[in-house]
Each structure stands twice: as structure tokens, then as C-alpha cells.
């Protein structure tokens, strides 16, 4: 009798786990996410030429977002210019601000501000703005870190923030330090 109750309990736990997995899969839009290969800077924003040329923030942001989003989406396509009505979900992001005074961690914190819209079937199903600042990490005795390295930390964290939001997207969300 006790064994059959235990077996029944085990089966109900398995059923619940399967249901949860199915729900997560459904939330993730069938498991397909389309991302830009490089997240562009918004036209007209002030970004120093050195940061534009040397830091490769557009590519790094795309790559970090891809890496972090792969946990929730079965397929993450990196496309040159994704279309908003492509199968699955399409995230279109842009970098709308970069705060980066030259001089690495001697010249203070560096920040990146991004915005994004998530499309599914030609309709916007979510939008966000996100900001992250970093001073390089490691405390006052850490070795010198260049401006690009600090900005890379920002976009890495932003990639994680975006991936977390992608698991259950909402409209007009604020991520990271944009809250």
C-alpha cells in the first residue's frame, strides 16, 4: 500500500515537471529567437571614435545576449538584419548611450544604455530599456583595466539582463540600473 502511494507521488511529481517544462517551452515562443549579429548604435548619439573603433560593443552585446539566451531558447539565430515577422521571436536592440571617459578605471565608471523591442508574428510583445555601469571590479587594488574591458563587463551583464527578461518578456520593462 505504502509503495503504491509513493509510486503515485513520484508520478505526480513527474507530471508536474513535464507540465512546467511544456509551459516554459510555450513561453519561450516555440524556442526560436532571432537576434542581430551586431547591435547598432542609435544614429545621432555621442560615442567617442575610439570606443566605436576599438571596443566592438555591438558584436559583444549580441554575443553575450546569445550566450545567455540559449538557456531558454532551443535555437538562437544570429542574423545580419532580422525581420520582425520571422518565425519565432525577433529581438531588435540598439545602443542608445555610452558613458566612457578615456583612461580606464582611473577615470571612473563606464556605462552603457540599451533599448530593445521583442517581436512575434509582426507584433511587438515586449520592450525594455536597460543600463549598466561598471568601474572594472576587483576593488581599489585591482590591476589597471582599459575602457573597452570595463565596457565589455557592462555589455556582458546587459546580455544576462536581457536574457532573463526574454524568459518572460513584458512591455516597457526597465532592466539593471534603469529601474
Amino acid at each position: 500500500m505504502k509503495t503504491s502511494v509513493r509510486r503515485g507521488h513520484r508520478w505526480s511529481v513527474r507530471c508536474l515537471m513535464a507540465l512546467a517544462a511544456a509551459l516554459t517551452q510555450a513561453q519561450a515562443g516555440g524556442g526560436v529567437l532571432n537576434l542581430q549579429k551586431a547591435v547598432p548604435y542609435k544614429p545621432g548619439i555621442e560615442v567617442s571614435p575610439a570606443v566605436r573603433v576599438e571596443c566592438e560593443l555591438p558584436k559583444k552585446l549580441a554575443a553575450y545576449t546569445q550566450a545567455a539566451a540559449e538557456d531558454d531558447y532551443g535555437t538562437v539565430n544570429m542574423l545580419e538584419s532580422p525581420v520582425t515577422n520571422a518565425p519565432g521571436r525577433t529581438l531588435i536592440m540598439q545602443i542608445v548611450g555610452v558613458d566612457a571617459l578615456a583612461g580606464g578605471n582611473f577615470s571612473g565608471r563606464k556605462g552603457v544604455n540599451i533599448e530593445g523591442k521583442l517581436w512575434e508574428g509582426g507584433k511587438i510583445i515586449g520592450s525594455f530599456q536597460a543600463t549598466r555601469y561598471s568601474s572594472g571590479g576587483g576593488g581599489g587594488f585591482s590591476r589597471f583595466k582599459g575602457t573597452c574591458k570595463i565596457l565589455a563587463r557592462d555589455v556582458k551583464t546587459l546580455g544576462k539582463d536581457v536574457a532573463e527578461w526574454l524568459a518572460s518578456p513584458s512591455m516597457n520593462a526597465r532592466l539593471g540600473e534603469a529601474r
Binding site: R6, H9, K42, P43, G44, I45, E46, V47, S48, V96, G97, V98, D99, A100, L101, G108, G111, N113, T131, N172, R174, A178
Partner: protein, 174 residues
């Protein structure tokens, strides 16, 4: 009523009969009444007004989207105080219900310093007015400075909206 379970329940092998009701009580104890919201709708502009916009301001507005950003920030931080926030192209004393009008008074340093004024009407009767200002002291990029100033102003205005007064001065203007 927003429920936040304060404990996760797993029935023990023998004591399941007693554990489940006890857990239910604990879970229900985690349900708390949401903070009271004013059951009203606020109507505000989709973009705040910027009557004195000069050509260099227009460039900043195009790149950093100051007028939309300010309206978005006020909306975002005012959400807890209203059951609904509706946006309209224009807002005036003639707008029915609670209506907020915000206008940029001063915009300098590419958005490093912004001053705004606003008025709140309730069915055409002025129930509040304010002037708010903020300055970003450290930022290399105009858009990042503007973003942080806009957020600070949005928070201050939203806080004022919870208990509006006339001729309020928000921020360092006080």
C-alpha cells in the same frame, strides 16, 4: 491581493496529513494586501512639451529622444499611484479626469541640466503645479547624462503625483 508564498511545501512521508494544511496556512500568510492605489486614471502627454526648442536642442531630441524619455520616465515611476495611465498627444485643462501637463523650461549642456514645470488638473480644476530641475555632474555622453537626469525628474514628479500640491519645487530648486 498579491500573494507571495513565504515557504515551499513538500509533504513528508508520514506527516503529510498534517503538513499540507499547515503549509496552506503559511502560504496564505504570505498573501499581503497590495499597497493602496488611487483608483483613478491619469492622462498625460506621449511626449512632454518643449516650446522653446532651439535647433541644437532638436538635434539632442532626435538622438536622445528627450521629450519621449521624460514622459516615459514619469509614466514608469507613477504607475504604482494610479490604476491606469493613458497617453494623449495633447493635455490641457479641458482634458476630462486627472490630467498632467509637463513642459521643458530649460535644457542645457546637451541634457546635462533639465528644468521642467507641470500642472495637474482634476476635471478642469487645477489641483497641483510644480517646477523640477536636475543636473548630471559627471558624464561624457549627452544621452547618458540626459537619461539619468530624466530618471531623477521622473521619480520626483511621480512622488509628487502621490500627494500633489500647488507651486511645489522638486529637487535642488527648493
Amino acid at each position: 491581493m498579491a500573494c507571495r508564498p513565504i515557504i515551499s511545501c513538500t509533504a513528508g512521508r508520514g506527516a503529510g496529513r498534517w503538513l499540507m494544511p499547515a503549509c496552506l496556512v503559511l502560504v496564505l500568510a504570505g498573501c499581503q494586501q497590495s499597497p493602496p492605489r488611487e483608483a483613478s486614471t491619469l492622462v498625460m502627454q506621449q511626449r512632454v512639451a518643449f516650446p522653446g526648442m532651439a535647433p541644437d536642442h532638436a538635434a539632442a531630441d532626435e538622438g536622445c529622444d528627450v521629450t519621449r524619455r521624460l514622459a516615459d520616465d514619469i509614466q514608469y515611476y507613477a504607475r504604482p499611484h494610479f490604476s491606469r495611465i493613458a497617453v494623449a498627444d495633447t493635455v490641457s485643462a479641458k482634458t476630462p479626469g486627472k490630467a498632467l501637463y509637463v513642459e521643458v523650461l530649460d535644457f542645457s549642456g546637451g541634457g546635462r541640466k533639465i528644468a521642467v514645470e507641470g500642472m495637474l488638473w482634476d476635471n478642469g480644476v487645477e489641483v497641483g503645479s510644480f517646477i523640477a530641475q536636475d543636473t548630471a555632474w559627471r558624464s561624457t555622453s549627452g544621452c547618458m547624462a540626459l537619461t539619468s537626469v530624466s530618471r531623477v525628474l521622473g521619480k520626483r514628479i511621480a512622488h509628487w503625483l502621490a500627494a500633489p500640491t500647488r507651486n511645489a519645487r522638486l529637487g535642488p530648486l527648493r
